[in-house]
Symmetry: C2
């Protein structure tokens, strides 16, 4: 192969197809040090194509097959193949989503997709932008809220502003903490509102806490409601939260990174009722909906605000004397300069499936989760954390036989806390299933089986996953812990 | 094709190859409204594969061929084909760079590549992270500096801290402004230090300005030195800047997003002497070195600081009771949660070419730029903005014959300011060349020809580009402006 050609791409396609064979295991786990010994990673010396191909084979061999139905370790799984095709095209076109001149088609596609999404979420006159993930989206949300409240912040900073408070539930995503630090509030400016047993924010407590902060002379800036918490999949009572926000004139951001994909389903979108009242929303199609990573949308009700808040009018890039309509140069709305084309892969899968195709995938996902929850509820040894299906998260413990019929006292729970990770370890080492586990509040380590738009995750798969957990669970002994 | 298979990927490869044919024009420019009329972008209804293929053909037809040598519009061009192969593999593997368990190989690859880069930049004991672009990297730099100075910021925010000042040159990148806003400083906290005619920061003015701010009781937090300004390609006197930073104990960040690629060349790395004294550095291999977008590295001298400053210890993701060495879970160093695998594509091209291969590409790029500058210097009608080649940026005006031999007074320059964009328009509409233009300080609109690691950009290409500019330049008339 000549060093400047594209012929290695043929090889890539071949290797990717081989990697997708049914017989390829989900994971061949090696410990870090062991894996370092296996792989040839040094880049000092160049290698020829033959050697490089072998290196890539090794990379693939020890990488996790996140496309398999048995990859349930995160809130993403099994890229939509049209989405993947879109991602490959994006990579080949290698351009940046800042000006129309270098991304004419992608600019229009981003606009079109955003318009469609804004309508879907009930804020058709709003604005939006694709961001590198949900954590950056929450930065956008807080920045927008702060700028709207105190436009002077852009020039003058936070030094002379009142103390601003961020409200979020105890089950919400940790990116709020990172955002509070980065944006200069500090994590002490966050008020963590308790949730009910199923993970939903206690609206009355939110109300009281805001009132209390106002009484103390602080400025309640933003409430982060969650539509799909990371672990339990809880959807806050968005109508209730919106009422409170309206009462106090507080910005409502809805983190729908996980649950937002339910908006694609006419059958399930009612779960997010009230989201159309938000000032800003974040949604990650790269999670439940299967768009390739990263595909994350930030939406804002107030059109023009993104540009007003974020523009810096760089004259080498956003020249006003260009020969076309420069209102199509959207890059100055972003905190980034160069920005990946994240809209196109989503456009590809949407174009291939249409609204109906995506809604069917959403419905199928929820039906599978429902089946899983019902099965877990009645299956011996399994115990649900929450019996309410909100997003397609099913959370439970597996209680091995030797642990059953005993007092579930603190000591018992301490053991269960160790059993869950042990089962996970065995499942991984056996390459049977990769599944998430987590403690939440008072709940000791439990499993989270979260379902995504994956055509192969059906009832049989669910039964097989539960059987795997059962089998590994029964092989756990006290001595192992 | 069945809706869940990968067979559309074969089509993608075929279309991408067709798109790379020599005969395909650089750009077929259409105005936004016109292009909207041509493309079928609505996603409401799903389409079959045959129709989708046609849609993709249209997307490609009207997209800019950024891989062509005649794409000189930005600081990126012509992806390295191995880098592209790496990007495709990354997309197919679709995982996130936060924990070892879901990205075992990519974790080790990021570590290996970062180690190699840190050595190259002279801070082998430092730490680093891949970020979504240079603007986010500067956020990392300022956050790190602020946290190091005032670790309380993380919890307490900026309200009770002294007024902190950010210093940067007038030719530096506009992302500093966006960062100052987002992070809560406000743009008024930036002190813009003048540059010399060639775009380098005036070190003595920097020194005086810091002293003055100290005298006023403000806290000089960070100096942003630039190794490769966006337009002129100026490299600040990094030794001089580092001396000043040392004198006042101020954090030095070097924005080497553009010029950092010269570190790959033993012949040219001396241009960045002093960079090894920085507290933090940003480098975008997706610019000069041809890695696919986005590929951006943030480096920090102080190992452990990234984790200390940014960690939030989410217990659903960074559990401490996992069965492997969790020091390999590097995601909590990041402000992002899910994070794209940006290291692998860079690893691929580095592995294929080795240090020597990349240094040859750097040397060839500089030789081409040198040839371009020398040619422009003596070619009738061309006038250099700066006669010093720092990074491979060559900046100049083309003065059409009818403008020559006249007083270059303000009125004359007003006309030149319009001529440059007009020539650019003609070059684009003729699909001959896409080239950047910009005003900088007192300099009216001029062209920037910036060179990248592109094997096809050689002396002949340079002559042909200059001839295109000449030809379009001569067709400009006063009536057109």
């Amino acid at each position: 192969m000549e060093k400047n050609g594209l012929s290695f791409l043929d090889k890539v396609l071949e290797l990717v197809k081989e990697d997708r064979a049914e017989s390829v295991p989900l994971v061949q786990f090696k410990n870090p040090k062991e894996l370092e010994g296996i792989l040839d990673l040094d880049v000092t010396e160049g290698v020829n194509d033959k050697r490089l191909e072998q290196c890539v084979r090794d990379v693939l061999q020890y990488s996790v097959k996140t496309h398999k139905a048995t990859f349930r370790n995160q809130l993403f799984c099994g890229t939509d193949p049209y989405g993947l095709a879109g991602a490959w095209i994006t990579e080949a076109c290698n351009t940046s989503q800042y000006t129309f001149e270098v991304a004419p088609v992608f600019t229009l596609i981003e606009q079109k997709v955003l318009g469609h999404i804004l309508k879907l979420f009930g804020i058709p006159d709003g604005d939006g932008i694709f961001t590198p993930g949900g954590s950056i989206a929450i930065l956008y949300g807080i920045v927008a809220a702060r700028y709207k409240a105190f436009p002077d912040i852009k020039a003058k900073g936070m030094r002379n502003l009142p103390e601003m408070i961020i409200f979020t539930s105890e089950d919400s995503h940790y990116s709020i903490k990172k955002a509070a630090h980065w944006l200069g509030f500090g994590t002490d400016s966050i008020r963590i509102i308790p949730t009910n047993a199923d993970g939903q924010i206690l609206v009355s407590q939110l109300d009281e806490t805001i009132q209390k902060e106002k009484d103390l002379g602080r400025y309640p800036l933003i409430v982060n409601g969650t539509a799909g918490t990371t672990v339990l999949g809880a959807i806050d009572d968005l109508e209730g939260v919106a009422d409170v926000c309206k009462k106090y004139g507080v910005w409502l951001h809805v983190d729908a990174c996980w649950g937002g994909s339910l908006m694609l389903s006419p059958k399930y979108k009612h779960k997010l009722e009230g989201i159309e009242r938000a000032n800003s929303i974040s949604w990650n199609p790269h999670k439940m909906a299967g768009a390739p990573l990263q595909c994350s949308v930030f939406m804002v009700r107030d059109k023009g605000l993104l540009h007003e808040a974020n523009s810096a009018a760089a004259q080498y890039l956003f020249q006003q004397d260009k020969f076309y309509d420069v209102s199509y140069d959207t890059g100055d709305k972003s905190v980034q300069c160069g920005r990946k084309i994240d809209a196109f892969k989503l456009w590809m899968m949407w174009k291939a499936r249409g609204d109906v195709g995506l809604s069917q995938l959403a419905d199928q996902t929820m039906a599978t989760a429902q089946f899983c929850m019902e099965t877990v509820a009645k299956r011996p040894g399994f115990k649900l954390v929450s019996e309410v299906l909100q997003c397609p998260n099913v959370c439970f413990w597996y209680i091995p036989t030797f642990m059953r019929g005993k007092d579930q006292d603190e000591k018992w729970w301490q053991i269960m806390h160790k059993i869950t990770p042990k089962i996970k370890e065995l499942l991984t080492l056996n390459s049977q299933l990769m599944v998430a586990y987590s403690p939440v509040r008072q709940y000791k380590n439990f499993f989270r089986l979260a379902f995504t738009f994956h055509p192969k995750v059906d009832k049989d798969q669910v039964l097989s996953m539960l059987a795997s957990i059962e089998k590994c669970g029964e092989s756990v002994t006290l001595a192992m812990l």
